[in-house]
Amino acid sequence: MSDATTGSAIQAEALAVRYGRTAVLEDVSLSVPRGSVYALLGRNGSGKSSLLRVLLGHRPPAAGRARLLGEDPWRRRTTLMERVGVVPEEPDAPPEMTAAQLSRFCAGVYRHWDAAAVAERIQRFEVPALRPFGSLSKGQKGALVLALALGHGPELLVLDDPTLGLDVVARDAVFGEVIGELADRGTTVFVATHELRAVEGIADHVAILHRGRLVLSGALESLKAERGLSLEQLFASVAGSRAADVHLAEVRP
């Protein structure tokens, strides 16, 4: 059976990304099962965002192969985006547009757009519908972008450090409510994050990137059971334990 309908939602084989002569990803292979919540963990500069850019078709890999819902994201990005929702690290909507305008814009570019559901989420996240995006708080921006990413009912939701800079309440809204809800509906969620504590409760698979290489991947519970370590300890064991990483330090007992 093809990946387009079954099997992996995301597949990477020996993937490499280079910026000029600088290699930021080398030989990364992973497979994200459909319907899973997959957490990609890594310290700053580990290559998480570069991997996401390749997976979302924003740049081609220097080597290796990437598949998103069974298709080449560099060549088939346009059609894939009908099935994929994206929440970037930095909310990137046009600053002059309000939430309502952004929803109308998206309604014009997606084949299926559930405006009512988007409006409901915007209201639930307490985002002012008529205020320009540029004047929203960081939490409101993130919430609005998340609402927009879900408007077309994606099969796969890709989040790049969605809680970076958010307060605890907003973080819980993202992870607790939304991702949990999506996972329950069978939507594949691929989240790149620092938030070990937040993902531990909802992720069923994890992968850890360290200095551009995938150093650990698999089902979270299996990994923990095999090594007898918590997620934080697993992370520290493969990605180092320098206290310079604030987010890592935050989750240590």
Binding site: Y19, R53, L56, G57, H58, R59, R77, T78, T79, L80, M81, E82, V84, V86, P88, E90, D92, A93, P94, E96, M97, Q101, F105, C106, G108, V109, Y110, R111, A149
Partner: protein, 666 residues
């Protein structure tokens, strides 16, 4: 289309304030007169405001639509939607088109409705000013240039902003490529432009044709920027840059190739109009417009026996923008043969020394040998630089902008140098001896003349004798007061004909009047090889050919069949060609008249002598027909140069279409 319009609408929404601002600015020309500003200035003010606003809109749009969005991470919003790169690129360019054109039009409409255009000559008027303005735009291809300005403005702003915002080291590559492109364009495209090698059916669209590759490069570059670079500013910059420069350099290569093709023109590509021959009859200097470019004047030293040739055209690489007009002629103005037929010489710019170089070609060997001689202490050559070789080719006289000099060859050393007043040029040069020459100078056209008398200056220049100058004047006749004087000098330089409606025989050394041959109505006069003088003049019944003895005594008058304006060359002793007309390239035929009895001895129904361009001057003596090879050269209506052998009667094309393609001997 729906998605493309959605992207366009988003871009416009961000910048919508430009539209009302344009309209408000456009109202200014309607308000200014209330404050005492002249109403007649308002169309100009309005045009400047509209163009300025459109340009500002182009810069704003171009610098933000892709470069800013990529640098600020905003393009990800579009690339995370089901929008193809074509939709994103097209939507942003469509927004640019609407924004720039819209703001320009909104600024223009108020004054276009109120004030009529400045009524350029020949344009149809309309009672409705707006209709007149639209007429002006349509007739003057205003919409074409508007579209170009838009594309170039937006595209260049995008290119610069992308390079700047990318912070990429490749920017250095951009700078190097830009500098090299400018250098190549100046050297290899500008000459094409100046030579008419970029002709378009409507000539005023030539600029549009030149700018087309630039516009295509910018458009294609921005497309690559979106398609390949996507959200990565550096990658986008590299894609834009490589695509843009690929288009630019492909165009430059095409232009350089075309110029090389034009430069490689041979005698067979000529439409000949000027010719000189050496005494032995083998070598010919032939010059004319090349069929490969409208204004490319090519000159060749042509071996009539083999068709092989030397190119005499100055290097086109010197013909760059800013170095045209008075400084670097685009075709040979002067080639001189030595009287013994052993040498030919012409000048070239000596760019290394900023002076003039002389190229002397030894013709007496099997393969001509050329030697380049730097002429010491001479200025760079110009349109009016003249050169003449002595009888044996051992000396040369060079007359430049402000000086005349006698040089020893092959050393190039200046044996004598004379300063000239500004505005004078050589009309004729004769060597009196191997190292003594006489130069006849006239005021260049366009130089103001103090009186209606034409002043002629005579300069004797010699090795050891230095410079000796004298002058005389030629008064106008009442029937043709504005006609310029034409000088004709005999082979020895001792006698002179001045033709200014009246024909006068003068002393070659002083200009002193020896005899007035014809009082008025003279069209042309020339010396014959045996010293006699031939002239054509108007008569009551038409035109007559008049022959005078060497002393100026009237010997023969013969009625001519037509009213020729010039007299052709002497093609055999005592026989001159009379063209039926001289409206090259329409050859009307010619006939040969015996100067002794005025009898027509031969007719050419479709051929005319290639008359020398009289404004260029006379720097080579005609070969002595008593000893020179017997050949006649005539041109036809298609610019071919025919050689008619005087002994065998053979008739063949030596230059122009159909001439044998000989080998270039450089």
């Amino acid at each position: 289309m729906k998605r493309l319009l959605a992207v366009t609408a988003r871009e416009l929404r961000e910048r919508w304030l430009l539209f009302p601002a344009s309209l408000v600015l456009g109202l200014n020309p309607l308000v200014f007169p209330a404050f005492g500003v002249d109403r007649r200035e308002m169309p100009f003010v309005g045009v400047v405001a509209a163009v300025g606003l459109a340009a500002a809109a182009a810069v704003i749009m171009g610098s933000t639509m892709l470069a800013r969005d990529a640098a600020n991470g905003r393009l990800g919003f579009l690339f995370s939607r089901p929008l193809s790169w074509r939709t994103i690129w097209g939507g942003k360019w469509l927004a640019a088109l609407v924004l720039v054109a819209g703001s320009g039009l909104l600024a223009a409409i108020p004054f276009m409705v109120v004030y009529p255009p400045g009524a350029p000559a020949g344009l149809p008027g309309s009672p409705v000013p707006l209709v007149s303005w639209l007429g002006v735009l349509a007739r003057e291809h205003g919409w074409v240039f508007g579209l170009y300005a838009l594309m170039l403005g937006v595209g260049v702003a995008n290119l610069l902003a992308t390079a700047y915002r990318s912070r990429s080291p490749w920017v250095v590559g951009d700078m190097v490529l830009a500098a090299a492109a400018v250098w190549i364009a100046r050297r290899r495209v500008a000459p094409l432009w100046l030579l008419g090698g970029l002709q378009t059916p409507p000539p005023d669209l030539a600029l549009a044709v030149v700018l087309l590759p630039l516009a295509i490069g910018l458009l294609a570059g921005s497309a690559a920027q979106v398609a390949i670079g996507r959200t990565d500013p550096r990658r986008a910059h590299l894609a834009l840059s490589l695509t843009f420069w690929a288009v630019v350099y492909a165009t430059l290569a095409g232009a350089a190739g075309r110029l090389a093709w034009i430069e490689a023109a041979g005698p067979a590509d000529l439409r000949s109009y000027d010719m000189a021959r050496e005494a032995n009859g083998r070598w010919l200097f032939v010059a004319g417009e090349s069929g490969r470019a409208r204004w490319f004047g090519a000159g060749f030293l042509l071996d009539t026996t083999s068709g092989n040739y030397l190119q005499v055209t100055p290097s086109l690489s010197a013909l760059a923008l800013g170095a045209i007009d008075d400084r670097v002629p685009s075709f040979p103005q002067s080639l001189s043969f030595s009287a013994d037929g052993r040498y030919a010489a012409f000048w070239e710019p000596d760019t290394a020394r900023g002076s003039t170089a002389l190229v002397r070609v030894l013709l007496s060997t099997g393969t001509p040998r050329r030697e380049r001689v730097g002429l010491a202490s001479t200025p760079p050559p110009g349109w009016w630089t003249a050169l003449a070789l002595s009888a044996t080719g051992g000396h040369a006289v060079l007359v430049s902008e402000a000086m005349a000099s006698l040089h020893e060859l092959p050393a190039g050393r200046a044996a004598a140098t004379c300063a000239l007043a500004p505005g004078w040029r050589a009309m004729a040069i004769r060597f009196l001896d191997e190292d003594a020459a006489r130069v006849w100078l006239v005021l260049r056209s366009g130089v103001p003349r103090p009186t209606t008398d034409d002043e002629i200056r005579i300069l004797d220049i010699s090795n050891g004798g230095g410079c000796r100058a004298t002058a005389f004047t030629v008064p106008p006749t009442p029937s043709a007061p504005a006609r310029p004087t034409v000088l004709t000098v005999d082979a020895t330089g001792k006698r002179l004909l001045t033709s200014r409606d009246a024909l006068a025989l003068r002393d070659g050394a002083t200009g002193a009047l020896l005899s007035t041959l014809v009082d008025s109505g003279v069209m042309w006069g020339r010396f014959l090889g045996d010293g006699r003088i031939a002239a054509i003049a108007a008569s009551e019944s038409g035109s007559v050919l008049r022959i005078f003895s060497p002393e100026g005594r009237d010997t023969t008058t013969a009625a001519l069949e037509h009213k020729p304006s010039v007299l052709g060359p002497e093609i055999a002793p005592g026989r001159v060609v009379v063209p039926l007309g001289w409206r090259w390239p329409q050859s009307l035929g010619s006939y040969v008249v015996d100067a002794t009895d005025g009898r027509v001895v031969q007719r050419f129904h479709d051929l005319t002598p290639p008359l020398p361009a009289w404004w260029l001057g006379d720097f080579t003596q005609d070969p002595d027909l008593r000893t020179a090879a017997r050949a006649v050269y005539l041109t036809d209506a298609d610019g071919r140069l025919w050689r008619l052998d005087g002994r065998t009667g053979e008739r063949r094309v030596v230059a122009g279409p159909g001439a044998p393609r000989g080998r270039r001997l450089d």
